[in-house]
């Protein structure tokens, strides 16, 4: 299953736990250090939480990726929720519209190596992040 894709449907807070456990298992399997596996699991937890808080449902996809001389893990969180009207604002520390801490996205960006976001108001949000093995 090492190059298989794992998809986790996110519909409730219980699924947040499932998604981060699967992410950690995949990171361990790929040979990430325990520290990096924790960073990946924490990022997944935050991304899945955003789905539950803002869109109610969506999915997390976990995939092994091959770069130049390196291996990594790609995590994609996608939903068909309300979308983020101002992405730049959402990427600033301290910004939140759901009464949460508002550290979600900038924090996730710091935990991972690569970060991409695509969001359209009324259509949904996709956040794609990657972490490379050291």
């Amino acid at each position: 299953m090492s190059d298989g894709e794992i998809r986790v449907g996110i519909n409730s807070d219980q699924d947040i736990v499932v998604a981060r456990q699967k992410g950690r298992a995949m990171a361990n399997e790929l040979g990430f250090s325990p520290g990096d596996a924790t960073l990946i699991a924490t990022a997944i937890s935050e991304l899945a939480r955003n789905i539950v808080s803002y869109a109610r449902k969506g999915k997390i996809t976990l995939k092994m990726v091959n770069g130049l001389n390196r291996q990594g893990i790609a995590v994609t969180a996608s939903d068909e929720g309300p979308g983020i009207p101002d992405i730049r604002q959402a990427l600033r520390d301290g910004f939140s519209t759901s009464g949460s801490l508002g550290l979600g996205l900038p924090g996730v960006r710091r935990l991972m190596d690569e970060f991409e976001i695509d969001s359209r108001p009324g259509q949904g949000t996709t956040v794609a992040v990657k972490k490379w093995k050291q």
């Binding site: 807070d13 219980q14 947040i16 736990v17 981060r20 456990q21 950690r24 325990p34 520290g35 596996a37 924790t38 960073l39 699991a41 924490t42 937890s45 935050e46 939480r49 520390d93 949460s100 801490l101 550290l103 979600g104 900038p106 924090g107 996730v108 710091r110 935990l111």
Partner: protein
């Protein structure tokens, strides 16, 4: 998954498991405050040694637990934050400001004993 709460004298000890959902954390928050009232506890130790991930929700809940318990006149100590978890928390920008922390359960109990001694 329920969090076991152990009573040891005037101290309550709650031990977290790895896979706590938001609902479990909310339940624990209420449970702990109720038990502090019921047993007239002076302190609560929350042992998070087994917790693999401390995300924004978990750390906010821990802060809330500590503040609620302080309003009851008791003290909270968080013990056992793993090094990797601490690193991830810092990267995420999460803090447990105003909440006492200790290395492990033993250190947490020692901290409370010292504290009670000086207030007696």
């Amino acid at each position: 998954m329920e969090v076991p709460i152990l009573k040891q004298g005037a101290v309550l000890i709650a031990t977290f498991q790895a896979a706590l959902s938001d609902a479990d954390l909310n339940q624990l928050r209420m449970g702990l405050v109720q038990q502090v009232v019921k047993f007239r506890s002076r302190a609560v130790i929350v042992d998070v040694t087994a917790m693999d991930v401390m995300d924004s929700f978990a750390s906010r809940t821990l802060r809330e637990i500590a503040h609620m318990i302080r309003l009851r006149g008791a003290e909270t100590v968080i013990v056992g934050i793993q090094p990797e978890v601490a690193f991830a928390m810092v990267q995420l920008g999460l803090t447990l400001e105003g909440v006492a922390t200790a290395l492990d359960l033993e250190e947490g109990l020692a901290y409370l004993n010292e504290k009670f001694k000086t207030t007696n």
